[in-house]
Symmetry: D2
Subunit: 164 residues, 4 copies
């Protein structure tokens, strides 16, 4: 079962820049994370962008939609910042991309490079969800899976929740 | 969606004993791992035993089967040593425990306490698989999910593979 | 041999804020680091401030000098940002604080909270240097110890070097 | 200031073998640890053996003594298991190897490969002690430095202590 994993950035993939002491994007850590997970699933990694999701424009979301549309694989995982993950999921859904594809967005609250990161757990969730679920657009995080139209990020508790 | 997580030990949960420098079992690290994963799924953790799966007897497997049978939750994750994970899955299947329950076994090749552990990834896989799959007995590891009767541990490559 | 450890912040002690995804200061991680190092040396930890050393003012450096002056212990370690560590060392030296005290500044290029941090190594260096060296003002980092007036941070190589 | 670092094994350098789930020796992790510490000190690493110090024979200690004797550098760090570190230090001392050399033994209670290892802290201590101390045979661990003839491993508290 082939999976395409689209990289769009987000906290999960932030890199620590020693030159200025800030968290920025440089190279993705997702391949290394999958290796740590000893993942043998058939996954093609495709970098689309590496951005903080608060900085994403509609043009950026369109690039992600296009990558989904052009994907030879009908099962896609997208790593994404948590702040606008729901917005991107909505763009994909409204373009009908979930009709014949299983698309699972995931991310992390703590970058993979940090000791107590949730990145590896969330990646495991997303890689499994994309293989098990029927076509649709989903967010897999916090050990749960949500439909794109029934989820919100609780900014106080810093977790995703179903709307109803 | 309530999940029962049965602890049976295995490499995933090994503890380092400073007194003798050996890896043994003491307390489980699974709750800490789920917290690192910021898991908000409704999970009840039930310790059944903490054993190397090579040391498990038929009586031990019966204890695990009994815990499945008595579980109020019909979705169960079992952390287990990789060496006899397939054998335990077979015992559960032959007792018909997968007819009305989704049971997912997982484990790790590298203990959670080590820097490059696959434990968190595998736990994410198992927690997601148990929520997405219909009743049956499965093994979720290496970013893949296998039916209990179509999987083997490749002892050379140290990974799980489908039989056909 | 009693040691006073003054906290002033710096990269070594940066904390990851999940609310905004930035590295900021909150609580110090130095006590946890010393516990990880199983350090049994007699160390009193005194927070003076938690600041990026680029944000330190002369008033801040004066606070650090005052803490040295008032210290009952004549052996002091100061955790400090690397960017102006040499400047602070100079302030302490010019106030004559190194005449009867062994003062060792240290820090890190990668925060303690990150997987590949140099913090623990540098802390080991500083804790040892402060016990072994005669009175003076020193910087211990990169596995080396420098006199305050013969050291510079190489901003290209991101390491400390002797001036001559 | 050139330093020779002799590897003899011990907990600090234990490797996790996925094939049998045991901690054994394979390749040393000390170079990687020094890189994590961003150590720029001039250090030559010389593997002598990789052994649990409980398995060391008098012939093994003689090999270590010989490596000290033949070292072009008069400053030596020896990584060593903690259980017989004091015995090896005594062998070196009684051969007069500390008369013109500064020799510092160190090790760890938790292997470098584990998340909460004290290895990096102890290495920092040893690398600094060997540069700061006058000739003699020392053990640097727990953030302290002990003379070879005034130290014991407290087997209950799992820490080193001065005899008097």
């Amino acid at each position: 079962m082939s999976i395409r994993l689209l990289l769009s950035g987000g906290t999960i993939d932030k890199h620590y820049k020693m030159y200025n002491g800030e968290l920025m994007f440089e190279e993705s850590h997702i391949r290394e994370a999958l290796e740590q997970g000893r993942c043998t699933a058939d996954i093609v990694i495709q970098p689309v962008m590496l951005k903080d999701s608060l900085d994403m424009t509609e043009a950026d979301r369109e690039l992600i939609a296009q990558a989904c549309r052009e994907s030879a694989e009908s099962r896609l995982v997208i790593t994404h910042g948590t702040d606008t993950m729901v917005a991107t999921a909505g763009v994909l859904a409204r373009q009908g991309l979930g009709e014949a594809r299983t698309i699972v967005l995931t991310g992390a609250m703590v970058p993979y490079i940090m000791k107590h990161s949730d990145a590896l757990f969330n990646l495991g969730c997303a890689v499994m969800a994309v293989q098990c679920l029927s076509p649709g657009i989903y967010i897999a995080i916090n050990g749960e899976v949500f439909s794109w139209d029934n989820v919100t990020k609780n900014l106080d508790l810093l977790r995703f929740e179903a709307l109803n």
